[in-house]
């Protein structure tokens, strides 16, 4: 009997866990399936105790699973926010203006930066290997600066955003073809403070 109760309770808990709903523990814990033997009037004190224990155990498991699910959901929301924040943006050849896809990627970062006033980032500008190394230092700087400007023009405090140019010295991908070059003309994002307690935007 006890085993059956537990199985039912766990099944219900699992269902709750999957659906993510919150329900009153009492109603959830009470089995209603008629195929399961209903506790009889003859259940003595020990029997009632076992029944109570069983319900308590099931409730605990259900609560724990719900908590874990909520934690997982929250962790994945934080992870998603972090990934959005750190997503690299790319540039056209010898250009530092923000492309359409870059604007979309930066727009997605804005609510995360707004929801986390303590978050500070560094934007690094990079260039592909073509042309002069020294000019590419300047080009990387313009890419980092125009990326920061887009964020500050949209209300982010400039003091929260550091910039740096690495020119062509730190390619994301090695290779001497357009595939590699396109991936190397970029601005990368790095969290320099406040990264441990990111609140996902509502």
């Amino acid at each position: 009997m006890t085993r059956n109760h537990r199985a039912i309770a766990l099944a219900l808990v699992a269902a709750v866990g999957v659906s993510g709903c919150r329900k009153n523990p009492e109603t959830v814990a009470m089995p209603t399936d008629t195929s399961t033997p209903v506790p009889s009037e003859t259940c003595d004190a020990a029997c009632r105790q076992r029944r109570a224990d069983s319900i308590a155990t099931a409730n605990e498991a259900r609560d724990r699973a719900a908590r874990e699910a909520a934690d997982r959901a929250r962790a994945s929301a934080i992870e998603a926010a972090r990934n959005t924040l750190l997503a690299t943006i790319y540039f056209d050849y010898d250009a530092s203006d923000i492309r359409g896809d870059g604007k979309a990627a930066l727009d997605a970062k804005l609510p995360i930066l707004r929801a986390n006033a303590g978050l500070q980032i560094r934007i690094s500008g990079h260039a592909d290997e073509r042309g002069s190394d020294q000019y590419n230092d300047a080009l990387g700087q313009r890419r980092a600066a125009s990326t920061r400007r887009y964020l500050t023009d949209n209300g982010i405090d400039p003091s929260r955003i550091a910039i740096v140019s690495y020119g062509e010295q730190r390619p994301a991908m090695s290779g001497a073809d357009e595939n590699a070059w396109a991936l190397n003309r970029r601005a990368e994002f790095e969290i320099t403070a406040g990264g441990n307690n990111i609140v996902p935007p509502q």
Partner: protein
């Protein structure tokens, strides 16, 4: 082998033309010498030079260095004959020189060097007149085979090259470069590659002080790139100082001003493009802005030898090009013609020490090559390279050779090119590659 020294007529003609086009070999540094060289040989050809065996424990090394330096100088044909009838060099046998044999071997000059207690006694014989033309005792102060000793032997070779050809060699020089995030120096003949900086922070773009007392370069940090000035002491160690700059700013392509190195000129940018700034090398004054690029960039400056003009890279709609201006940034104008849509991306200029040429890199058919243009008449642009990709030229002190980076062997290494003959030689064989070569002034002059 160079025993067959008869030069093909076409080559001799080309060399003669080059001689004429250069207006002779009237280098500025030659005028200080009052003694006219006595050797005569067919105009426009390279004189053959025979270096006789040298006595003493280090004699073979001295002879090998002299021969290699004269060869790398590209002004003479070194006759690499073995010791046939050359054992007449023993003390007291000067009267027995076999001039007819030397003439048959193609020698116009014979170098007879003798190690002495204080240095090297050198006599240069004119084969045609069968006379000793020049004699000099050179000091060799440093420990035999040490880097300093080698520099002194190089300086002797440079003097011999001047006696024989009228053009002083550039063997007693070193080349700075960056490899694996460090600044290195290497002798002009490829000996003694030596790291000067630590691996972190990564260091790039070295440049020499005109007197070789200091170098300047860029380091890459997470707070931006910074300009570092470093003292060059004899043993390669030296104090360094980092120029102050705002957090997050780019500070790159530093050079010393000519001819005295009083200023450092470098590219600085933060939020609104990159411009050239000048700062006193040893003072405390803040940097003064030189160019006004209005959100675009100005980088990679190079000074004219007398210090009045600069050439640098700036970006215009459609591509990068070379601009020339007064040292204070005024009177800026395009050095190379520019038309909209031009993708030649001319960058990395280097003004020759004689002031006559500006070398640079430009793209052709998707590959960078080395070119030069005269800053005076701005006429024909000469192309020097076409094998692989070739970048970042820097002139030798004699304004005849260029050191540059090439990937022609598959990895980026420094190469040296004789701009008159087109002869290349590989300078570095660095495992992690070599870039940004910068040729020193002459470090020892005899």
């Amino acid at each position: 082998m160079r025993l067959s020294v008869r030069r093909p007529g076409a080559l001799a003609l080309m060399a003669a033309l080059a001689f004429v086009l250069r207006g002779g070999v009237a280098h500025a540094q030659d005028s200080s010498l009052t003694v006219r060289i006595g050797l005569t040989y067919a105009p426009g050809t390279k004189p053959g030079v025979l270096v006789l065996p040298v006595n003493g424990a280090d004699g073979d090394s001295v002879r090998a260095i002299l021969q290699r330096d004269l060869d790398y100088g590209d002004r003479a044909n070194v006759i690499a004959g073995e010791a046939i009838a050359m054992d007449t060099t023993a003390e007291g046998s000067r009267g027995q020189f076999n001039y007819p044999l030397y003439a048959r071997l193609g020698a116009a000059a014979v170098v007879q060097a003798t190690l002495t207690s204080s240095g090297l006694h050198v006599a240069v014989h004119d084969v045609r007149t069968q006379r000793v033309e020049r004699v000099k005792d050179f000091p060799l102060a440093a420990a035999p085979l040490s880097p300093d000793w080698r520099q002194q032997v190089h300086a002797i070779a440079d003097a011999i090259e001047f006696w024989v050809t009228g053009g002083r060699g550039v063997a007693a020089t070193r080349i700075l470069y960056s490899s694996g995030g460090r600044i290195w120096q290497i002798d002009s003949d490829g000996a003694n590659p030596t790291a000067l900086t630590a691996a972190n922070p990564p260091a790039l773009y070295p440049a020499w002080h005109p007197k070789a007392t200091h170098i300047v370069y860029t380091v890459m940090t997470d707070d931006g790139t910074r300009v570092v000035v470093r003292e060059m002491s004899a043993n390669g160690g030296g104090a360094s100082r980092t120029l102050k700059a705002p957090v997050g700013s780019v500070n790159t392509s530093p050079i010393f001003s000519q001819p005295d190195g009083e200023m450092i000129l470098y590219a600085h940018g933060l939020d609104n493009g990159t411009d050239l700034y000048a700062v006193p090398t040893f003072g405390t004054e803040s940097a003064r802005r030189v160019t006004v690029s209005r959100g675009m960039d100005a980088v990679s400056p190079s000074f004219s030898p007398e210090g009045r003009r600069i050439v640098y890279v700036t970006n215009r709609p459609g591509g990068l090009g070379l601009y020339i201006a007064d040292a204070d940034g005024t009177n800026a104008e395009a050095l190379t013609p520019f038309s909209f849509g031009d993708q030649s991306q001319r960058t990395d200029p280097s003004w020759s020490p004689d002031g006559r040429m500006v070398a640079f890199q430009a793209e052709k058919d998707g590959r960078t090559q080395i070119y030069s243009v005269s800053p005076r008449d701005r006429g024909a642009i000469k192309q020097y390279t076409n094998e692989g990709r070739n970048e970042d030229p820097s002139w030798s002190p004699d304004s005849r050779h260029l050191v540059f980076t090439s990937n022609r062997t598959g990895s980026w290494q420094l190469w040296i090119l004789d701009t008159e003959s087109g002869r290349p030689r590989q300078l570095t064989h660095a495992a992690s590659g070599a870039k940004a070569g910068a040729w020193s002034p002459r470090l020892v002059v005899y």
